[in-house]
Assembly symmetry: C2
Homo-oligomer: 221 residues x 2
Protein backbone atom coordinates (compact mmCIF):
# COMPACT_ATOMS: atom_id res chain seq x y z
CA UNK A 1 0.00 0.00 0.00
CA UNK A 2 1.58 3.21 -1.25
CA UNK A 3 0.01 5.34 1.47
CA UNK A 4 1.71 3.65 4.42
CA UNK A 5 4.86 5.77 4.11
CA UNK A 6 2.72 8.90 4.30
CA UNK A 7 1.17 7.70 7.55
CA UNK A 8 4.61 6.80 8.81
CA UNK A 9 5.85 10.31 8.19
CA UNK A 10 2.82 11.77 9.94
CA UNK A 11 3.28 9.49 12.91
CA UNK A 12 6.92 10.53 13.16
CA UNK A 13 5.82 14.16 13.31
CA UNK A 14 3.36 13.30 16.07
CA UNK A 15 6.05 11.43 17.96
CA UNK A 16 8.34 14.45 17.69
CA UNK A 17 5.53 16.51 19.26
CA UNK A 18 5.23 13.90 22.02
CA UNK A 19 1.67 13.01 21.02
CA UNK A 20 1.07 9.51 22.33
CA UNK A 21 -2.36 8.78 20.95
CA UNK A 22 -4.17 9.67 17.71
CA UNK A 23 -7.62 9.07 16.21
CA UNK A 24 -8.12 8.01 12.62
CA UNK A 25 -9.92 11.30 12.07
CA UNK A 26 -6.96 13.49 13.07
CA UNK A 27 -4.45 11.25 11.35
CA UNK A 28 -6.52 11.42 8.17
CA UNK A 29 -6.61 15.20 8.33
CA UNK A 30 -2.83 15.42 8.76
CA UNK A 31 -2.17 12.95 5.96
CA UNK A 32 -4.67 14.62 3.66
CA UNK A 33 -6.99 11.65 3.19
CA UNK A 34 -10.35 10.28 4.30
CA UNK A 35 -10.70 8.82 7.84
CA UNK A 36 -12.28 5.57 6.69
CA UNK A 37 -9.37 5.07 4.33
CA UNK A 38 -6.91 5.45 7.18
CA UNK A 39 -8.74 2.80 9.20
CA UNK A 40 -8.93 0.40 6.25
CA UNK A 41 -5.26 0.88 5.48
CA UNK A 42 -4.14 0.44 9.07
CA UNK A 43 -6.35 -2.58 9.65
CA UNK A 44 -4.44 -4.12 6.76
CA UNK A 45 -1.44 -4.29 9.09
CA UNK A 46 -3.50 -5.85 11.88
CA UNK A 47 -5.75 -4.57 14.64
CA UNK A 48 -3.50 -2.11 16.40
CA UNK A 49 -6.12 0.47 17.38
CA UNK A 50 -8.25 0.69 20.50
CA UNK A 51 -11.98 1.31 20.05
CA UNK A 52 -13.17 4.43 21.74
CA UNK A 53 -9.58 5.66 22.11
CA UNK A 54 -7.58 5.60 18.89
CA UNK A 55 -4.09 4.43 17.94
CA UNK A 56 -1.00 4.42 20.13
CA UNK A 57 1.54 6.41 18.13
CA UNK A 58 4.60 4.60 19.43
CA UNK A 59 3.21 1.12 18.98
CA UNK A 60 1.82 1.86 15.54
CA UNK A 61 5.18 3.28 14.49
CA UNK A 62 6.90 0.14 15.63
CA UNK A 63 4.54 -2.12 13.74
CA UNK A 64 4.66 0.02 10.65
CA UNK A 65 8.45 0.29 10.59
CA UNK A 66 8.64 -3.44 10.83
CA UNK A 67 6.14 -3.87 8.01
CA UNK A 68 7.90 -1.32 5.80
CA UNK A 69 11.27 -2.96 6.40
CA UNK A 70 12.77 0.13 8.00
CA UNK A 71 14.54 -1.73 10.78
CA UNK A 72 17.57 -2.12 8.60
CA UNK A 73 19.42 -0.10 5.96
CA UNK A 74 18.89 -0.73 2.27
CA UNK A 75 22.04 0.26 0.36
CA UNK A 76 21.41 2.07 -2.90
CA UNK A 77 23.44 2.09 -6.08
CA UNK A 78 23.02 4.99 -8.49
CA UNK A 79 23.61 4.18 -12.16
CA UNK A 80 24.26 7.05 -14.54
CA UNK A 81 26.30 9.91 -13.13
CA UNK A 82 25.15 12.77 -15.30
CA UNK A 83 23.50 15.88 -13.90
CA UNK A 84 20.70 14.05 -12.21
CA UNK A 85 22.77 11.13 -10.95
CA UNK A 86 25.37 13.46 -9.44
CA UNK A 87 22.57 15.51 -7.94
CA UNK A 88 20.95 12.48 -6.35
CA UNK A 89 24.25 11.20 -4.98
CA UNK A 90 24.73 14.55 -3.29
CA UNK A 91 21.17 14.69 -1.98
CA UNK A 92 21.33 13.84 1.70
CA UNK A 93 17.74 12.68 1.91
CA UNK A 94 18.59 9.09 1.00
CA UNK A 95 21.19 8.27 3.64
CA UNK A 96 19.30 10.10 6.36
CA UNK A 97 16.34 7.82 5.95
CA UNK A 98 18.01 4.44 5.85
CA UNK A 99 19.01 4.30 2.19
CA UNK A 100 22.77 4.93 2.15
CA UNK A 101 24.35 5.47 -1.24
CA UNK A 102 26.69 2.48 -1.51
CA UNK A 103 28.12 3.08 -4.95
CA UNK A 104 28.00 5.22 -8.08
CA UNK A 105 28.14 3.59 -11.48
CA UNK A 106 28.62 4.82 -15.02
CA UNK A 107 29.38 3.23 -18.36
CA UNK A 108 31.52 6.14 -19.55
CA UNK A 109 35.25 5.35 -18.98
CA UNK A 110 36.02 9.07 -18.65
CA UNK A 111 33.79 9.24 -15.59
CA UNK A 112 34.98 6.04 -13.95
CA UNK A 113 37.48 6.78 -11.19
CA UNK A 114 36.24 10.31 -10.51
CA UNK A 115 35.15 11.10 -7.00
CA UNK A 116 31.64 12.51 -6.67
CA UNK A 117 30.03 13.30 -3.33
CA UNK A 118 32.67 11.18 -1.62
CA UNK A 119 32.21 8.10 -3.81
CA UNK A 120 34.47 6.79 -6.53
CA UNK A 121 32.54 6.23 -9.74
CA UNK A 122 32.86 2.61 -10.86
CA UNK A 123 32.21 0.95 -14.18
CA UNK A 124 28.91 -0.66 -15.11
CA UNK A 125 30.74 -3.92 -15.87
CA UNK A 126 31.65 -4.24 -12.18
CA UNK A 127 28.00 -4.13 -11.14
CA UNK A 128 27.69 -7.80 -10.11
CA UNK A 129 30.70 -7.62 -7.75
CA UNK A 130 29.60 -4.28 -6.33
CA UNK A 131 26.14 -5.59 -5.57
CA UNK A 132 27.49 -8.65 -3.81
CA UNK A 133 30.25 -6.84 -1.90
CA UNK A 134 28.10 -3.99 -0.63
CA UNK A 135 24.80 -5.79 -0.25
CA UNK A 136 23.01 -3.43 -2.62
CA UNK A 137 19.23 -3.65 -2.25
CA UNK A 138 18.00 -0.87 -4.50
CA UNK A 139 19.10 0.43 -7.88
CA UNK A 140 18.43 3.98 -9.04
CA UNK A 141 18.50 4.57 -12.80
CA UNK A 142 19.56 8.09 -13.74
CA UNK A 143 20.79 7.39 -17.26
CA UNK A 144 19.42 8.77 -20.52
CA UNK A 145 16.21 7.13 -21.72
CA UNK A 146 17.95 5.01 -24.36
CA UNK A 147 20.02 2.98 -21.92
CA UNK A 148 17.45 2.68 -19.11
CA UNK A 149 16.13 -0.72 -20.14
CA UNK A 150 19.61 -2.16 -20.55
CA UNK A 151 20.64 -0.91 -17.10
CA UNK A 152 17.48 -2.32 -15.56
CA UNK A 153 18.26 -5.70 -17.10
CA UNK A 154 21.79 -5.61 -15.72
CA UNK A 155 20.56 -4.62 -12.27
CA UNK A 156 18.11 -7.51 -12.20
CA UNK A 157 20.76 -9.90 -13.50
CA UNK A 158 23.07 -8.75 -10.71
CA UNK A 159 20.34 -9.52 -8.18
CA UNK A 160 18.92 -6.03 -7.58
CA UNK A 161 15.16 -6.49 -7.65
CA UNK A 162 14.04 -3.05 -6.43
CA UNK A 163 14.50 -0.32 -8.99
CA UNK A 164 13.67 3.37 -9.03
CA UNK A 165 13.74 4.77 -12.55
CA UNK A 166 14.28 8.47 -13.25
CA UNK A 167 14.85 8.03 -16.97
CA UNK A 168 11.97 9.21 -19.15
CA UNK A 169 11.35 5.81 -20.70
CA UNK A 170 9.05 2.85 -20.27
CA UNK A 171 11.12 0.15 -18.60
CA UNK A 172 9.89 -3.35 -17.86
CA UNK A 173 11.24 -5.88 -15.41
CA UNK A 174 10.53 -9.55 -14.75
CA UNK A 175 7.81 -10.29 -12.18
CA UNK A 176 10.28 -11.02 -9.38
CA UNK A 177 11.49 -7.42 -9.52
CA UNK A 178 9.70 -4.20 -8.53
CA UNK A 179 9.98 -1.00 -10.48
CA UNK A 180 8.79 2.48 -9.65
CA UNK A 181 9.36 5.53 -11.75
CA UNK A 182 9.74 9.24 -11.25
CA UNK A 183 9.64 11.40 -14.35
CA UNK A 184 10.27 15.04 -13.57
CA UNK A 185 9.34 16.53 -16.93
CA UNK A 186 6.23 14.40 -16.95
CA UNK A 187 5.15 16.03 -13.71
CA UNK A 188 5.77 19.46 -15.18
CA UNK A 189 3.81 18.55 -18.30
CA UNK A 190 0.86 17.46 -16.21
CA UNK A 191 1.02 20.73 -14.31
CA UNK A 192 1.15 22.86 -17.42
CA UNK A 193 -1.71 20.82 -18.84
CA UNK A 194 -3.96 21.74 -15.93
CA UNK A 195 -2.72 25.30 -16.07
CA UNK A 196 -3.57 25.46 -19.73
CA UNK A 197 -7.07 24.17 -19.07
CA UNK A 198 -7.67 26.76 -16.38
CA UNK A 199 -6.46 29.58 -18.57
CA UNK A 200 -8.47 28.41 -21.57
CA UNK A 201 -11.73 28.62 -19.67
CA UNK A 202 -10.74 31.96 -18.18
CA UNK A 203 -12.16 30.33 -15.06
CA UNK A 204 -12.90 26.77 -14.21
CA UNK A 205 -15.33 25.75 -16.92
CA UNK A 206 -12.90 23.31 -18.48
CA UNK A 207 -12.52 21.31 -15.32
CA UNK A 208 -15.29 20.10 -13.07
CA UNK A 209 -15.21 19.90 -9.30
CA UNK A 210 -14.03 16.31 -9.21
CA UNK A 211 -11.13 16.99 -11.53
CA UNK A 212 -10.04 19.85 -9.36
CA UNK A 213 -9.89 17.63 -6.34
CA UNK A 214 -7.91 15.12 -8.35
CA UNK A 215 -5.40 17.80 -9.23
CA UNK A 216 -4.38 18.01 -5.63
CA UNK A 217 -3.65 14.35 -5.35
CA UNK A 218 -0.18 12.96 -5.14
CA UNK A 219 1.98 12.87 -8.19
CA UNK A 220 3.32 9.54 -7.19
CA UNK A 221 1.37 7.39 -4.87
Amino acid sequence: MARLPVYLRTLLELQAESVSNISSERLAEMAGVNAAKVRKDLSFLGSYGTRGVGYDVEYLLFQMSRELGLTKDWPVVIVGIGNLGAALSNYGGFGDRGYPVAALIDADPSKVGKVISGHIVRHLDDLPEIVTELGVAIGVIATPAETAQEVADKLVAAGVTSILNFAPAVVSVPPEASLRKVDLSLELQILSFYRQRDAAGEGLEGLDALDRVAVQKSASA
Copy 2:
Protein backbone atom coordinates in the same frame (compact mmCIF):
# COMPACT_ATOMS: atom_id res chain seq x y z
CA MET B 1 -5.12 12.70 -17.73
CA ALA B 2 -1.72 11.76 -16.34
CA ARG B 3 -0.97 9.31 -19.14
CA LEU B 4 -0.99 11.83 -21.98
CA PRO B 5 2.66 12.85 -21.42
CA VAL B 6 3.67 9.19 -21.72
CA TYR B 7 1.95 8.94 -25.09
CA LEU B 8 3.55 12.21 -26.09
CA ARG B 9 7.00 10.85 -25.32
CA THR B 10 6.25 7.68 -27.27
CA LEU B 11 4.99 9.67 -30.24
CA LEU B 12 8.15 11.77 -30.20
CA GLU B 13 10.21 8.58 -30.40
CA LEU B 14 8.14 7.41 -33.34
CA GLN B 15 8.55 10.76 -35.04
CA ALA B 16 12.32 10.52 -34.55
CA GLU B 17 12.18 7.15 -36.31
CA SER B 18 10.16 8.75 -39.14
CA VAL B 19 7.12 6.57 -38.41
CA SER B 20 4.15 8.46 -39.82
CA ASN B 21 1.30 6.26 -38.69
CA ILE B 22 0.59 4.17 -35.60
CA SER B 23 -2.19 1.89 -34.38
CA SER B 24 -3.53 2.01 -30.83
CA GLU B 25 -2.23 -1.53 -30.39
CA ARG B 26 1.40 -0.67 -31.14
CA LEU B 27 1.24 2.60 -29.25
CA ALA B 28 -0.15 0.75 -26.24
CA GLU B 29 2.66 -1.75 -26.36
CA MET B 30 5.29 0.97 -26.48
CA ALA B 31 3.68 2.93 -23.67
CA GLY B 32 3.20 -0.17 -21.56
CA VAL B 33 -0.60 -0.01 -21.31
CA ASN B 34 -3.76 -1.60 -22.71
CA ALA B 35 -4.86 -0.74 -26.26
CA ALA B 36 -8.42 0.10 -25.25
CA LYS B 37 -7.07 2.53 -22.69
CA VAL B 38 -5.02 4.29 -25.35
CA ARG B 39 -8.10 4.72 -27.52
CA LYS B 40 -10.22 5.98 -24.61
CA ASP B 41 -7.51 8.41 -23.56
CA LEU B 42 -6.91 9.74 -27.07
CA SER B 43 -10.61 10.04 -27.84
CA PHE B 44 -10.72 12.38 -24.85
CA LEU B 45 -8.73 14.86 -26.96
CA GLY B 46 -11.11 14.46 -29.90
CA SER B 47 -11.44 12.08 -32.83
CA TYR B 48 -8.02 12.27 -34.37
CA GLY B 49 -7.66 8.66 -35.53
CA THR B 50 -8.70 7.06 -38.81
CA ARG B 51 -10.61 3.76 -38.62
CA GLY B 52 -8.87 0.92 -40.37
CA VAL B 53 -5.64 2.94 -40.47
CA GLY B 54 -4.61 4.30 -37.08
CA TYR B 55 -3.32 7.65 -35.88
CA ASP B 56 -1.19 10.09 -37.85
CA VAL B 57 1.86 10.60 -35.64
CA GLU B 58 2.52 14.17 -36.74
CA TYR B 59 -1.05 15.34 -36.42
CA LEU B 60 -1.60 13.65 -33.08
CA LEU B 61 1.60 15.22 -31.76
CA PHE B 62 0.39 18.62 -32.86
CA GLN B 63 -2.98 18.21 -31.15
CA MET B 64 -1.45 16.75 -28.04
CA SER B 65 1.21 19.44 -27.70
CA ARG B 66 -1.51 22.02 -27.99
CA GLU B 67 -3.60 20.28 -25.36
CA LEU B 68 -0.66 19.86 -22.99
CA GLY B 69 0.32 23.48 -23.40
CA LEU B 70 3.72 22.69 -24.86
CA THR B 71 3.62 25.32 -27.57
CA LYS B 72 5.19 27.80 -25.21
CA ASP B 73 7.77 27.81 -22.41
CA TRP B 74 6.71 27.69 -18.78
CA PRO B 75 9.37 29.38 -16.67
CA VAL B 76 10.12 27.62 -13.39
CA VAL B 77 11.22 29.06 -10.07
CA ILE B 78 12.99 26.76 -7.61
CA VAL B 79 12.50 27.61 -3.95
CA GLY B 80 14.94 26.16 -1.42
CA ILE B 81 18.52 25.90 -2.61
CA GLY B 82 19.81 23.08 -0.42
CA ASN B 83 21.18 19.86 -1.83
CA LEU B 84 18.08 18.98 -3.78
CA GLY B 85 17.31 22.49 -4.98
CA ALA B 86 20.87 22.98 -6.23
CA ALA B 87 20.70 19.58 -7.84
CA LEU B 88 17.47 20.37 -9.65
CA SER B 89 18.75 23.75 -10.84
CA ASN B 90 21.71 21.99 -12.39
CA TYR B 91 19.57 19.27 -13.93
CA GLY B 92 19.31 20.03 -17.61
CA GLY B 93 16.10 18.10 -18.10
CA PHE B 94 13.85 21.03 -17.25
CA GLY B 95 15.13 23.60 -19.71
CA ASP B 96 15.45 21.07 -22.51
CA ARG B 97 11.79 20.30 -22.37
CA GLY B 98 10.29 23.77 -22.25
CA TYR B 99 10.59 24.50 -18.55
CA PRO B 100 13.51 26.94 -18.26
CA VAL B 101 14.71 27.68 -14.75
CA ALA B 102 13.93 31.39 -14.41
CA ALA B 103 15.08 31.97 -10.85
CA LEU B 104 16.43 30.39 -7.67
CA ILE B 105 15.03 31.46 -4.32
CA ASP B 106 16.03 30.89 -0.72
CA ALA B 107 15.10 32.40 2.62
CA ASP B 108 18.61 32.10 4.04
CA PRO B 109 20.48 35.45 3.69
CA SER B 110 23.81 33.62 3.55
CA LYS B 111 22.71 31.91 0.36
CA VAL B 112 21.18 34.96 -1.31
CA GLY B 113 23.55 36.46 -3.85
CA LYS B 114 25.45 33.26 -4.51
CA VAL B 115 25.60 32.03 -8.07
CA ILE B 116 24.40 28.46 -8.60
CA SER B 117 24.19 26.84 -12.01
CA GLY B 118 24.41 30.26 -13.59
CA HIS B 119 21.63 31.84 -11.54
CA ILE B 120 21.91 34.33 -8.72
CA VAL B 121 20.01 33.12 -5.67
CA ARG B 122 17.41 35.68 -4.65
CA HIS B 123 15.49 36.15 -1.43
CA LEU B 124 12.06 34.69 -0.78
CA ASP B 125 10.72 38.16 0.00
CA ASP B 126 11.32 39.17 -3.62
CA LEU B 127 9.13 36.39 -4.93
CA PRO B 128 6.20 38.57 -6.08
CA GLU B 129 8.45 40.81 -8.22
CA ILE B 130 10.38 37.86 -9.61
CA VAL B 131 7.18 36.10 -10.64
CA THR B 132 5.86 39.18 -12.41
CA GLU B 133 9.16 40.15 -14.06
CA LEU B 134 10.02 36.72 -15.37
CA GLY B 135 6.52 35.39 -16.04
CA VAL B 136 7.01 32.42 -13.73
CA ALA B 137 4.42 29.72 -14.35
CA ILE B 138 5.56 26.89 -12.10
CA GLY B 139 7.04 26.78 -8.63
CA VAL B 140 9.22 23.92 -7.42
CA ILE B 141 9.43 23.47 -3.64
CA ALA B 142 12.73 21.94 -2.53
CA THR B 143 12.75 23.23 1.04
CA PRO B 144 12.68 21.18 4.24
CA ALA B 145 9.27 19.78 5.15
CA GLU B 146 8.61 22.38 7.83
CA THR B 147 8.59 25.35 5.48
CA ALA B 148 6.91 23.70 2.51
CA GLN B 149 3.38 24.88 3.32
CA GLU B 150 4.52 28.44 3.94
CA VAL B 151 6.38 28.52 0.63
CA ALA B 152 3.36 27.09 -1.18
CA ASP B 153 1.18 29.84 0.29
CA LYS B 154 3.65 32.49 -0.83
CA LEU B 155 3.84 31.03 -4.32
CA VAL B 156 0.07 31.05 -4.65
CA ALA B 157 -0.11 34.59 -3.24
CA ALA B 158 2.45 35.66 -5.84
CA GLY B 159 0.27 34.18 -8.56
CA VAL B 160 2.02 30.85 -9.15
CA THR B 161 -0.76 28.29 -9.35
CA SER B 162 1.20 25.27 -10.54
CA ILE B 163 3.40 23.74 -7.87
CA LEU B 164 5.66 20.70 -7.79
CA ASN B 165 6.52 19.73 -4.23
CA PHE B 166 9.64 17.72 -3.38
CA ALA B 167 9.39 18.31 0.36
CA PRO B 168 8.27 15.28 2.37
CA ALA B 169 5.19 16.97 3.76
CA VAL B 170 1.48 17.17 3.05
CA VAL B 171 0.90 20.56 1.46
CA SER B 172 -2.50 21.93 0.54
CA VAL B 173 -3.37 24.67 -1.89
CA PRO B 174 -6.58 26.53 -2.72
CA PRO B 175 -8.73 25.04 -5.48
CA GLU B 176 -7.50 27.48 -8.12
CA ALA B 177 -3.98 26.05 -7.77
CA SER B 178 -2.62 22.64 -8.78
CA LEU B 179 -0.15 20.70 -6.73
CA ARG B 180 1.78 17.57 -7.52
CA LYS B 181 4.31 15.96 -5.29
CA VAL B 182 7.42 13.83 -5.67
CA ASP B 183 8.77 12.26 -2.50
CA LEU B 184 11.98 10.37 -3.13
CA SER B 185 12.28 8.60 0.22
CA LEU B 186 8.66 7.62 -0.03
CA GLU B 187 9.43 5.85 -3.30
CA LEU B 188 12.32 4.03 -1.66
CA GLN B 189 10.15 3.05 1.28
CA ILE B 190 7.54 1.60 -1.03
CA LEU B 191 10.25 -0.35 -2.82
CA SER B 192 11.74 -1.74 0.37
CA PHE B 193 8.24 -2.61 1.54
CA TYR B 194 7.68 -4.82 -1.49
CA ARG B 195 11.19 -6.22 -1.15
CA GLN B 196 10.50 -7.07 2.47
CA ARG B 197 7.30 -8.85 1.53
CA ASP B 198 9.05 -10.91 -1.11
CA ALA B 199 11.83 -11.89 1.26
CA ALA B 200 9.44 -12.71 4.10
CA GLY B 201 7.56 -15.24 2.02
CA GLU B 202 10.82 -16.68 0.68
CA GLY B 203 8.88 -16.58 -2.55
CA LEU B 204 5.76 -14.78 -3.58
CA GLU B 205 3.21 -16.01 -1.09
CA GLY B 206 2.82 -12.62 0.53
CA LEU B 207 1.76 -10.99 -2.67
CA ASP B 208 -0.79 -12.24 -5.16
CA ALA B 209 -0.63 -11.94 -8.90
CA LEU B 210 -2.60 -8.71 -9.05
CA ASP B 211 -0.35 -7.02 -6.51
CA ARG B 212 2.68 -7.99 -8.53
CA VAL B 213 1.31 -6.33 -11.59
CA ALA B 214 0.59 -3.24 -9.53
CA VAL B 215 4.21 -3.15 -8.41
CA GLN B 216 5.27 -2.39 -11.94
CA LYS B 217 2.97 0.55 -12.27
CA SER B 218 4.16 4.08 -12.34
CA ALA B 219 5.27 5.65 -9.14
CA SER B 220 3.62 8.89 -10.08
CA ALA B 221 0.67 8.82 -12.32
